[in-house]
Amino acid sequence: MVSTGEHIALSPVLIVEDDERTQARLVHLLRELVGTTGDIAVADTVADAKALVLSLKPRFALVDIGLPDGNGLELIDWVERHHPDTTTVAISAWGHEEVVLAALRAGAVGYLMKERDDAELRAALQSIRRGGALIDPLIARRILAHVTFTSKEDAAPPVSPVESSTRSDTSLSERESEILQFVARGFSNREIADLAGLSRFTIEGYTKSIYRKLAVSSRTAAVFEAKALGLL
């Protein structure tokens, strides 16, 4: 498969996963996307992953949340700070939405659920390559709850110009919030695109920008919160 101008380059890819079968499955799925010439590296510990990030400078990283020598959330946060060019996606099995949300806030732009069918994972990866991100209703609902809280704070006059600019960067636009509402009610991207009069790829782009805002507003806090929640 050849990358077009619309696609972001995924290669080199870093897979951080300690389970061999899942490694193989992900390598197989990614191979379809990056082609035989694509560079796919695999790490099964946090330490290896950090070393590889620094040497390989991957464009794309899949990070398992549960790793033997550390926590995937911390690694995502580390990658985001040390190599922000890397697009990071979290991997989880039966992932609780709190964990997923923590990964998004740590800087991931998406997540993959191991228990899903290959076809679903493939669709998700394609979406990511298109520059978008996937989302599901439970996560959308979580983000909406978080956003509602933030917009209430916005009602108060900003303390300083710096703070107010940070706020406006991180608060969701009306369109973004509308899309989240649709997602929370179970609408597919195609349906949302029809309802909102946008292309479905645009919807995926919105999703990604929502994730970005989530991460910017709360990345540093996310780790602490996740710890407090007992997720780390």
Partner: protein, 614 residues
């Protein structure tokens, strides 16, 4: 006898001195005239009688000599003035009751009322300044015309002449002790009385405040005797004296009741009898003032004994019940005890003086009693405050306990909810997941059939999807509506169909605020999942439409595809899943309708009641 003899002897020895008079030799000296001659006369006597003069020693109370003589007694005094160049001061210390004063035959002073109602001149000493020509060198004669009633100790006190400054100073001293102090006593009594009257009005329960106020009021009325210069508002001295005695008795009786009440006793009968005695005395004083006045010693002795009895009684009580306020009160009563003994003796003419001392010490007594009452008030206040603190402590303890109980009950309720949820989860696992798992195991274990790997994967994926449903429905917030509960399934299946290019359409209407209950929602989701699995696996459809709609009190569910369909009559063609779907629709209280014909798609639909059928 010996006393009389001694007195006679003294009179004989004094007689020449009386005749000679006393001599004021220098202008700076003063002499106290203690010798005089007295002669009785009638009320309207204009001039001193010619005879009938008796030598007397001042102070002289004539009732001892002429016990029935009401009217005038003339007193004649002499003194020798070495020179009349300097003016001389004259002090008439005590006259009971009204008088006129003549110096060398000239009238220099006369009271307003020399007949009834008699002026009450004895309340304060009087000072005069004498100069020539009235004042003569050599012998000067002083005539004092005293109007009085035998019943009320009429007579004349000492007279002092001499240096005006020192005589006037003596007059001022006398006026201060006899008159001003009495005024002060009156004021203090009234103030304290008023204070405790207000206190009693605000706290009727503490009756001793009221009795104390009553006592001070009557004491003030009685003490008015020492400052009133006329019997006004009465027209004669008898009424005044009678009522005065009555006031005295009432004040001692109320005082006794006050002490009783203060000590915590409430002798209703004694109180009533004493108060009735007071009332009788009061009425008697008004009706027969003369008689009462004459014999006022009786009520006064009665009042005095009441007073002493109550004081001694209270002191005994205080000794038996050591308490600060009792001691303060008993201590303040000790002063008047001694002083009033003195006054009593004075009144009964056992000792002679022109000064009743009780008034001087009375303010001290009142202040002492006031302190005791104030102390008691403060103690009561403190007790009330302590009670408040204790009450607050107990209320907070009770609140705490209540909060604990509520918390325990809340925890219990929460725990019950959790247990209920866990039971639901177990039942979910048991019903769907467990059943599928057992089916999968027995299929795989069946020795007659070689396990088909694809079949195994399918079975495992079904198990996975069921687990997903259980997770989705059990991890949701309680208040999520049906739309929200269907959303994850809808999303997942949209993605799946999309991945294999089946167009899926969903219509979810009118269920925004609908809540079916966890078990029924799971049943509905399982129905949808199995129906969609069938579509995915068997139908070869290009379009699937799921419609969930609320129609009145029923929930209409419809899943149809444009796939190859089947013959509903022929169960062998497909339908391994159909019985399960029927069961699920049945559990929702509905009957599954299957519309299908080969080549024309399949439609599964049912209408379920919104609330579970009993």
């Amino acid at each position: 006898m010996r006393v009389i003899f001694a007195l006679l002897l003294a009179c004989m020895m004094l007689a020449p001195a009386v005749a000679a008079g006393q001599t004021l030799s220098t202008s700076s000296a003063t002499i106290e005239l203690r010798s005089a001659e007295a002669a009785p006369a009638d009320w309207h006597s204009e001039a001193p009688p010619v005879d009938g003069w008796t030598p007397v020693k001042l102070m002289d109370l004539w009732d001892a000599r002429w016990p029935r003589h009401d009217g005038v007694v003339w007193y004649r005094l002499h003194w020798n003035q070495a020179s009349a160049d300097q003016p001389a001061g004259l002090l008439v210390d005590y006259v009971n009751s009204a008088y006129a004063l003549y110096v060398n035959g000239s009238l220099i002073y006369s009271d307003t009322h020399l007949t009834e109602p008699l002026s009450r001149r004895w309340i304060r000493p009087q000072y005069f300044l004498l100069d020539k020509p009235l004042l003569r060198p050599g012998q000067n004669t002083l005539l004092v015309r005293v109007s009085g009633l035998a019943a009320y100790q009429p007579g004349l006190g000492t007279v002092t002449v001499g240096n005006p400054a020192s005589v006037q100073a003596q007059q001022r001293r006398g006026e201060f002790w006899r008159y001003n102090v009495q005024l002060f006593d009156q004021s203090v009594s009234l103030v304290f009385g008023g204070l405790f009257l207000i206190l009693w009005l605000l706290r009727r329960k503490d009756a001793y405040y009221g009795w104390y106020a009553l006592c001070t009021v009557f004491w003030s009325l009685y003490s008015f005797n020492f400052v009133a210069s006329s019997p006004w508002p009465f027209d004669n001295t008898d009424v005044w004296e009678a009522l005065n005695a009555a006031f005295y008795v009432i004040s001692t009786v109320t005082f006794a009741i006050f002490l009783l009440r203060y000590a915590g006793y409430q002798w209703r009968r004694t109180e009533r009898i004493m108060l009735m005695l007071c009332m009788a005395l009061f009425v008697f004083a008004l009706l027969c003032p003369q008689w009462t006045g004459r014999y006022r010693a009786v009520p006064i002795v009665f009042g005095c004994s009441t007073y002493y009895a109550s004081i001694f009684g209270f002191m005994g009580y205080a000794l038996r019940h050591p308490r600060a306020d009792y001691y303060a009160l008993a201590g303040s009563l000790l002063i008047p005890l001694v002083v009033s003994a003195h006054d009593m003796l004075l009144f009964l003419s056992v000792i002679h003086s022109d000064n009743y001392l009780l008034a001087v010490t009375s303010p001290l007594t009142i202040i002492g009693m006031g302190s005791a009452l104030a102390y008691r008030f403060a103690v009561a206040m403190r007790r009330a405050e302590n009670f408040n603190a204790e009450l607050q402590r107990e209320v907070s303890a009770a609140t705490h306990q209540l909060a604990e109980t509520l918390k325990r009950e809340h925890d219990l309720a929460l725990n019950n909810v959790r247990i209920g949820e866990r039971l639901n989860l177990v039942r979910d696992l048991h019903d769907g997941f467990g059943g599928s798992l057992l089916a999968a195991i027995s299929t795989l274990e069946d020795p007659r059939r070689r396990p088909d790997p694809a079949q195994v994967v399918t079975t495992l994926k079904e198990l996975r999807d069921d687990l997903r449903l259980i997770i989705d429905t059990t991890t949701h917030e309680r208040d999520t509506d049906l739309t929200g509960l269907i959303a994850p399934l809808r999303h997942r299946w949209s993605q799946r169909f999309e991945a294999i290019a089946i167009d899926s359409q969903w219509t979810v209407e009118g269920v925004e605020d609908l809540s079916l209950g966890d078990m029924r929602v799971l049943e509905l989701l399982r129905f949808l999942q199995e129906a969609l699995t069938n579509v995915l696996k068997h139908s070869s459809a290009s379009l699937v439409h799921v419609r969930i709609r609320r129609e009145g009190e029923r929930l209409s569910v419809d899943v149809h595809d444009d796939g190859r369909g089947f013959d509903p009559g022929n169960l062998t063609t497909r339908g391994a899943g159909l019985p399960s779907l029927r069961v699920r629709a049945g559990r929702l209280g509905a009957t599954l309708r299957i519309t299908s014909s080969p080549g024309d798609g399949t439609r599964l639909s049912f209408d379920a009641p919104l609330s579970p059928v009993a």
